[in-house]
């Protein structure tokens, strides 16, 4: 962290988006995380991504649970709505909020502890229900807030700062999400904004549950030799498989990729996610092949990154499946929303 907030002064040539806002307008309050924390870079990527797609700050809902990662919702898009929930319970809150108002963008920030230990059940069911949200796991393999114990994502053989070796197998959120049928599964790295920013943009626009597992080194407790989630290890074992570019509805695809390399996946409003294969023979639209490939890389101790699996799940999205009305609840007239005691009598009479 720093002791003074980022000064309000900005570069004179700072560009403005379609709303006339600069990147600085998407910042939040002063981060209190350790200096060099990967989470702060992810925060910066979210700021960049939100600015880039001209997201209206008031149309964004930020949700989180407990942990270092969950603090970060305070550090971006200060003009957005926010809810800091009980440990591991963020998906329920997101589900409820999304059920009540489907017009907003939902971004859930969680960590490996919040999602893979205490909140594992909630995480799985959010995927199962295909909640329309972007779910970011800031994954560092340790419980940073309680001084560096192994988390459920710690790899076998990774060393803690004081030398203990982890022997329990990890839960991999990417494999888990693919297993549960998620339609948008990505992995990235806090140190690679060129990859991460378009992924966040695509994930925000994706109609359904979008997961990005972001390797985010804990600079204080997990950035030493022997750790498999340090800056250095991640960089050395990092293989981008698929790059994703979000292409808004209005914009033409400018193909500077060779034919056959770029695969568009249509989103609900005619916008597209353009997938560019970086690894020969990798097909991100084939869930089984993608699953195998991710697993093989894990076995080799490598991180396969990018938009690893993407397919349209519009028909199984929560609202579509439940045929819920288009109108958010806050737009339904009070009389209709709360029809009163007489209406309740009528309903109850049906069961008598």
């Amino acid at each position: 962290m720093t002791y003074i907030p980022k000064p309000k002064i900005a570069h004179p040539s700072l560009p403005r988006n379609e709303l006339g806002l600069t990147r600085r307008d998407y910042e939040g309050s002063l981060s209190t995380l350790c200096a060099g924390c990967g989470h702060d870079s992810i925060t910066a990527a979210i700021i960049e991504a939100s600015w880039g797609i001209s997201l209206r700050p008031e149309n964004l809902v930020k949700l989180s649970g407990i942990g270092c990662s969950s603090k970060t919702t305070a550090y971006f898009v200060g003009g957005a709505h926010g809810f800091n929930s009980v440990h591991g319970r963020m998906p329920s809150i997101a589900m409820g909020a999304n059920a009540a108002n489907r017009d907003l963008y939902y971004i859930g920030i969680s960590g490996d502890g919040d999602s893979l230990s205490i909140g594992l059940g909630q995480f799985c069911h959010a995927i199962r229900r295909n909640t329309d949200m972007l779910y970011i796991i800031e994954n560092n393999g340790v419980y940073g807030l309680t001084k560096g114990q192994f988390s459920a994502s710690a790899d076998i053989g990774t060393k803690a700062k004081k030398g203990e070796v982890n022997q329990q197998p990890p839960i991999d959120p990417v494999l888990l999400a693919m297993n549960l049928g998620a339609g948008f599964v990505a992995r990235s790295f806090s140190g690679d904004k060129a990859q991460l920013v378009p992924l966040i943009q695509a994930g925000l626009e994706y109609p359904g549950f979008a997961l990005i597992d972001v390797l985010s080194p804990c600079v204080t407790f997990n950035d030493h030799e022997g750790s498999t989630k340090s800056y250095q290890y991640t960089r050395e074992h990092y293989e981008p498989a698929v790059a994703a570019d979000y292409v808004p509805f209005q914009r033409e695809i400018k193909t500077d990729y060779g034919a056959g390399e770029a695969v568009p996946v249509m989103l609900h409003d005619g916008s597209r996610v353009l997938l560019r294969k970086l690894t020969e023979g990798y097909d991100p639209t084939d869930a089984h092949a993608a699953y195998d490939s991710v697993q093989q890389h894990i076995a080799r101790g490598e991180y396969l990154t990018g938009l690893l699996h993407c397919r349209s799940t519009t028909d199984t999205e929560f609202h579509a499946l439940n045929r819920s009305p288009d109108q958010p609840l806050n737009g339904v007239p009070f009389g209709k929303l709360v029809p009163g005691a007489k209406a309740l009598e009528k309903v109850l009479a049906r069961y008598r």
């Binding site: 720093t2 003074i4 002064i9 570069h11 060099g36 910066a44």
Partner: protein
């Protein structure tokens, strides 16, 4: 790109834009911090080391530092550097006991300085502590040169000059007032000086030979001579309607002096549009605030004389064609205009003049009668004769003259020790960390969004009562407190150690002005376009690190709009960034002596 060599004395010096722009390389941020701490005498001495006359320059400096000030690039107005200098001078305590001691045992070398202006006084200031015996010859009965005679006392009061001149003269300088040098030959051959420094200024005002000039002579005045006559109280009044020809800083002093001598209507006549004016913007503002009218596109044609007396002037009304680069590509006369005048003052420039230097002494002059002087050593073509100030290269300003004095003093010292003047100590730079604790720096790193303070002026009602009333009052205590916080501490440098960097992006994310980028290396032109914010100011070098150890990329910093908030260093988990104060060592004669 090549890895930036930050040990080169110019690299960090250029980042301190004000110091780099100052001819005398005054350590501006350092003295502003001292003022912030209430250490006015210390601030004065930091100034005095470089510019010798902080009280004078704090009022009338041309301030090349202010247009250069980085603050003017991140927001509208630069720091009021010049006015803060005056604060140090106005509030200092006794300082003379902290100047270098003057040896009682002299070194046996005698130096003559011609003209008691800022250049000669600087030479004396630099050489007296080394044991030289310095004699200054001055034609007038008072020292100060053009500072005394050409700058009106409502801008620069006499006592301010007195104090700073006395600080030098009291070192034991043999000041011979009322002693005009009429023959260089006599001085060189009969007086026995080991070296001669010519600091006689540019005392000759330019003439405008148009029809009627001779007939109207009684009411047509040469600007700098006229100002001199006012300074010595030979001139005490002027007509009601005055025209000033020319629009440089002398013209501004002439028009404002006219108002104080009784003129009711004063017009400054400019040949060209405003963007071509030579006067400093603030001097124009001050004149206009006093209801002086500046008339553009008027080219003088002739003086109109009736009955042997000046009635006014005839002007051609001009029109100019200006190209996209702002250059004049064509001009034509569209009309003629008569403007009445009781007095006309010519302020169209000045030049140096050496009728007293015989042309057979080995001191060569070029075809414009300007002496041939080495730009670095200030040596003339005759060994032992040096030129500085306006006398050397034509009219510049006080701060340039001071620097000439410093450089000439080094040469004179070398010459008197029998060494070539070209053997000069090189500039250097020292860096010192400003880190005190986890997030503590020994400078105020937070950015203050306060706007530039305006110096209070004596009211328009009061100021014309007497020509000696200083118009500018100087900052109030509250204004000082605010203005010092506007300085960006550009001398507290961001210093990067590539070996320590873990490429976590923390510095890049926190930088408020997008100065930093980690990117694959490339040639400069390409690299400048690939940064987080494009680096368009090519005069400011890029800071390029060695390859980083994880990815082989380089860290690139565009220094152009860095606000030196130190957040990159605060956010850095490995202290790869540090904030370090750069001390630019700009050698003077005393340093050359110490290094010996």
């Amino acid at each position: 790109m090549a890895v930036t060599d930050t040990s080169h004395p110019d690299y960090f010096h250029k980042v301190v834009d004000c110091q780099w722009a100052c001819p005398a390389h005054t350590d501006v941020p350092e003295y502003i911090r001292l003022i912030a701490q209430g250490r006015f005498t210390d601030a004065y001495l930091v100034n005095r080391r470089s510019n010798v006359f902080p009280g004078i320059l704090g009022r009338v400096c041309d301030r090349p530092c202010e247009p250069a000030c980085r603050r003017g690039r991140v927001e509208e107005k630069p720091v009021a550097i010049c006015r803060l200098k005056r604060v140090a001078a106005d509030h200092k305590d006794e300082f003379r006991d902290r100047l270098p001691p003057i040896p009682t045992q002299k070194n046996g070398k005698k130096i003559a300085c011609i003209g008691a202006g800022c250049a000669s006084l600087t030479v004396a200031n630099d050489l007296m502590p080394l044991g030289y015996e310095v004699t200054i010859f001055e034609q007038f009965a008072i020292a100060g040169g053009l500072m005394r005679t050409n700058i009106p006392s409502f801008r620069l009061p006499g006592p301010v000059i007195d104090e700073e001149v006395a600080a030098i003269v009291d070192m034991g300088v043999d000041l011979r007032l009322g002693h005009r040098i009429e023959s260089m030959r006599k001085l060189l051959e009969e007086e026995g000086f080991d070296a001669v420094f010519v600091g006689s200024g540019a005392p000759k005002g330019k003439e405008l030979n148009l029809p009627g000039r001779q007939e109207g002579a009684a009411n047509i005045h040469i600007g700098i001579t006229w100002l001199e006559s006012i300074a010595f109280e030979h001139v005490k009044s002027v007509g009601e309607t005055v025209l000033i020809i020319g629009v440089g800083n002398t013209a501004m002093d002439c028009c404002r002096s006219s108002l104080r001598l009784g003129a009711k209507s004063v017009k400054v006549m400019a040949r060209k549009p405003r963007q071509f004016f030579k006067a400093s913007e603030w001097e124009l503002e001050d004149a206009e605030a006093e209801s002086v009218e500046i008339v553009i596109n008027r080219s003088p044609k002739c003086f109109v004389i009736e009955g042997g007396k000046l009635k006014g002037m005839l002007f051609d009304v001009m029109e100019y064609e200006v190209d996209a680069q702002g250059r004049i590509t064509g001009e034509r006369v569209t009309a003629e205009e008569f403007l009445p005048a009781d007095d006309v003052i010519l302020a169209i420039g000045q030049e140096n003049a050496f009728p007293w230097i015989e042309r057979d002494l080995g001191i060569e002059f070029d075809k414009w009668e300007v002496p041939k002087v080495d730009a670095v050593t200030h040596e003339s073509t005759r060994p032992g004769v040096f030129f500085g100030g306006d006398a050397a290269f034509g009219p510049k300003n006080i701060i340039w003259s001071v620097e000439h004095g410093h450089q000439a003093a080094i040469s004179i010292h070398q010459y008197c020790q029998g060494k070539p003047a070209s053997e000069r100590m090189a500039p250097g730079v020292n860096l010192q960390s400003r880190k005190m604790g986890m997030h503590e720096w020994s400078y105020n790193n937070d950015y203050s969004g306060i706007e530039r303070r305006l110096v209070p002026h004596v009211s328009l009602k009061e100021r014309f009562k007497n020509i000696d009333i200083e118009v500018e009052l100087g900052f109030t205590a509250e204004q000082v407190v605010a203005e010092v916080q506007r300085c960006l501490n550009c001398d507290v440098q961001t210093v990067f150690d590539a070996k320590l960097c873990i490429e976590c992006d923390a510095c890049i994310d926190i930088c408020p002005v997008d100065c930093l980028t980690m990117t694959p290396d490339g040639v400069e032109a390409d690299l400048r376009t690939r940064l987080k914010a494009p680096a368009t100011n090519v005069t400011q070098a890029l800071y390029v690190s060695e390859p980083l150890k994880h990815t082989g990329r380089v860290m690139v910093k565009d220094e152009d709009v860095c606000v030196h908030c130190g957040l990159c260093a605060e956010r850095c988990p490995t202290a790869a960034w540090d904030m370090q104060k750069s001390w630019v060592k700009w050698p003077h004669a005393i340093d050359q002596e110490v290094a010996r």
